[in-house]
């Protein structure tokens, strides 16, 4: 029999499929916002694995999202389109492979970034990941066949409710499954006290890299979904402001709490939509609310402390 967590995952996927089948009845705007939430969930949950559970402060998540977006876009729109069309399979069938390829590319870049830089700690790691994010952006700006600064245009809209929330469900499941295993307890130990973790025989660098690469992988998936939702991507859209946006969701969600992070994503995205009524004063209100939230709930919005029991499912 399947473990309970996988049954839940399966049910989530089926639910997503059912909703997706009737998603044409949802109006375009609401659907766009909902899919945006799904993508943000993937981004925040995957960053949470790095920032929250493993305690490594990364400010370059948007860079991995960019890599995933461009890699996926290359396959469906850019030079890879030839191969994509020639395969003859229906785009809807190929899309998950495209997403996976995007995630994989981002994971490889994540490995290249993480392996040297994860030896650094705290603010130094933050600045180095920020630097890598900017480097990725500059490199993308200079690749002519990816559109350079002018961006990649006309990416088909393959991102459906099912793929978006299916991927979100898989991300949450994967993050949960990793954390609730011997490996994941290693993440928590590294976050808590690196020296003690080393003394327990944990190769802390390896744990950090696993968390980092996994996070980058899912950020890449989110990038692919994003590209095929909005239809247009440009390097400037993945700057460090985007990374900070994701960090804010993770911290408001209470760092290292899956549920909290998911709720924070939903709240922040919906809040941001609701604030449209303020017009050009929207960001003033948003930033004021952000400060107020932090001052009143500095530990994050959701902070019940889980009693970690012997879960083997």
């Amino acid at each position: 029999m399947l473990p309970r967590s996988q049954i839940v995952l399966l049910i989530s996927l089926i639910t997503a499929g059912i909703i997706s089948a009737s998603s044409s009845r949802i109006d375009d705007y609401i659907l766009d916002v909902i899919l945006g939430i799904g993508i943000n969930i993937i981004l925040a949950v995957s960053l949470n694995l790095i920032n929250g559970f493993t305690g490594q402060f990364s400010l370059g998540h948007a860079g991995f999202m960019a890599v995933g977006a461009y890699a996926a876009g290359t396959l469906t729109t850019g030079p890879g389109k030839v191969w994509f069309d020639a395969s003859g399979a229906s785009p809807a069938l190929l899309f998950p492979f495209v997403l996976f390829a995007g995630g994989l590319t981002a994971a490889v870049v994540g490995l290249a970034v993480g392996a040297p830089s994860l030896r650094l700690k705290g603010d130094y790691l933050a600045i180095v990941t920020l630097g890598f994010g900017e480097i990725i952006k500059v490199i993308l700006q200079n690749i002519e066949w990816l559109g350079g600064s002018r961006g990649m245009v006309g990416i088909p809209s393959y991102t459906s409710f099912f793929w978006c929330f299916g991927a979100a469900a898989v991300t949450i499941y994967a993050a949960w499954a990793l954390v609730n295993s011997t490996l994941g307890r290693g993440f928590l130990a590294v976050a808590d006290d690196e020296i003690a973790a080393e003394a327990m025989g944990l190769n802390t660098t390896r744990y950090k890299i696993i968390a980092f690469v996994t996070g980058a992988f899912f950020a890449g998936i989110a990038g692919g979904l994003y590209a095929h939702l909005k239809g247009y991507i440009s390097p400037a859209g993945f700057d460090f402001n985007k990374s900070i946006e994701i960090v804010v969701m993770v911290i408001l969600g209470g760092m290292g709490r899956h549920v909290g992070v998911v709720i924070a994503v939903v709240l922040l995205t919906v809040l941001s939509e609701k604030l449209r009524d303020f017009g050009d004063k929207r960001m003033i209100v948003y930033s004021a609310l952000l400060i107020l939230l932090m001052l009143t709930r500095p530990q994050g919005l959701f902070t019940w402390k889980p009693a970690r029991k012997a879960i083997t499912g």
Binding site: F57, P116, S117, R119, L120, K121, D123, Y124, A126, I127, V128, G131, F132, E134, I135, V138, I139, Q141, N142, E194, I195, F240, I244, V247, V248, I251, L252, M255, D280, K281, M283, I284, Y286, S287, A288, L290, I291, M294, L295, P298, Q299
Partner: protein, 298 residues
């Protein structure tokens, strides 16, 4: 050769500006151990105080007195704003992990930027000429009086800060606080007062930086702090965050690197190269060039 020397001048004067902003970052970091994201927006505020002092209050400019008056005004207003920000937004979170404060700082930064766009307007404004300006030519080389001023002011401020931190009672208290906040309060140091002072000083520096920056690049807008702020922060980390000479050195290096990268045909990769060098240096010296590595005691 001429080109090289000219680029050297360009690089040093750009680096001096980064150093100026980096000093403020490093001061606050040295005491509180957190990145004050709003620093670059206080910097922006300094420039706008200067602008409105001339445009609305009609402070006469072009002479030395008027220029200095504007400079002092900007520094005082920024100091007050900095102290207020610390008191209202950071102090309530003092006992919390620095990440919470970081998010608040990001919030303050966004708030200042967006208030700026709303109040001042997003269009760039031409900054008035505060001091008499000339363009000096040494053979084929050229340098403006403003560039020289920035370099001079940076050096003076570095020396001044060094004096404050190492030779005054307040400075000793700042260092004690930076070393161990609990212990410093036990020996009778008023931590709140010292932190306020540090923020005031750092923000006054930012204000002065804003004015000098605007004099050199007379186009100011509410987002003008973001890029130099980011570069200056990189400079502070490169030099070893918390170290004053480190900030100056880091600023200078970033300025020179950017200039030479841009000047040698790699201008499209300029920011990438600057970051790549930062990363390389940090990998070799994880605490920055002049930073002291604080290894955990086992």
């Amino acid at each position: 050769m001429i080109e090289f020397l000219q680029q050297l001048i360009n690089g040093i004067s750009l680096g001096a500006i980064y150093a100026l902003i980096a000093l403020g970052y490093t001061m606050v970091y040295g005491v509180l151990r957190f990145i004050n994201f709003a620093h670059s927006d206080v910097f922006m505020l300094g420039a706008f105080v200067g602008y409105y002092a001339v445009k609305k209050l009609g402070v006469p400019v072009g002479g030395l007195a008027g220029g200095l008056l504007v400079l002092c005004l900007a520094m005082s207003i920024c100091a007050i704003v900095g102290i207020l920000i610390e008191r209202l937004a950071y102090r309530p979170l003092r006992s919390r992990p620095t990440l919470s404060v970081l998010i608040t700082a990001i919030g303050v930064s966004l708030l200042l930027q967006n208030l700026g766009q709303s109040v001042f307007g997003a269009n760039p404004k031409a900054f008035p000429r505060l001091f008499p300006e000339t363009n000096l030519h040494l053979g084929q080389l050229s340098i403006t009086s403003n560039q020289l001023l920035v370099i001079a002011v940076s050096l003076v401020l570095l020396a001044g800060l060094h004096f404050i931190v190492h030779r005054t009672k307040t400075g000793t208290a700042m260092r004690a606080l930076s070393f161990n906040a609990t212990a410093s309060s036990l020996v009778g140091i008023n931590n709140d007062r010292i932190i306020s002072f540090t923020f005031g000083l750092g923000s006054a520096l930012a204000g002065a930086g804003g004015i000098l920056y605007a004099m050199n690049y007379p186009s100011i807008d509410p987002l003008m702090g973001t890029m130099p702020g980011l570069k200056a922060f990189v400079a502070a980390v490169l030099g070893g965050v918390g170290s004053l000479p480190g900030a100056a050195l880091g600023g200078l290096l970033i300025g020179l690197i950017e200039t030479f990268v841009a000047g040698t045909g790699w201008s499209t990769y300029r920011d990438a190269v600057a970051f790549a060098i930062l990363i390389l240096i940090l990998l070799l010296r994880p605490a920055g060039l002049l930073g002291k590595s604080r290894s955990d005691k086992v």
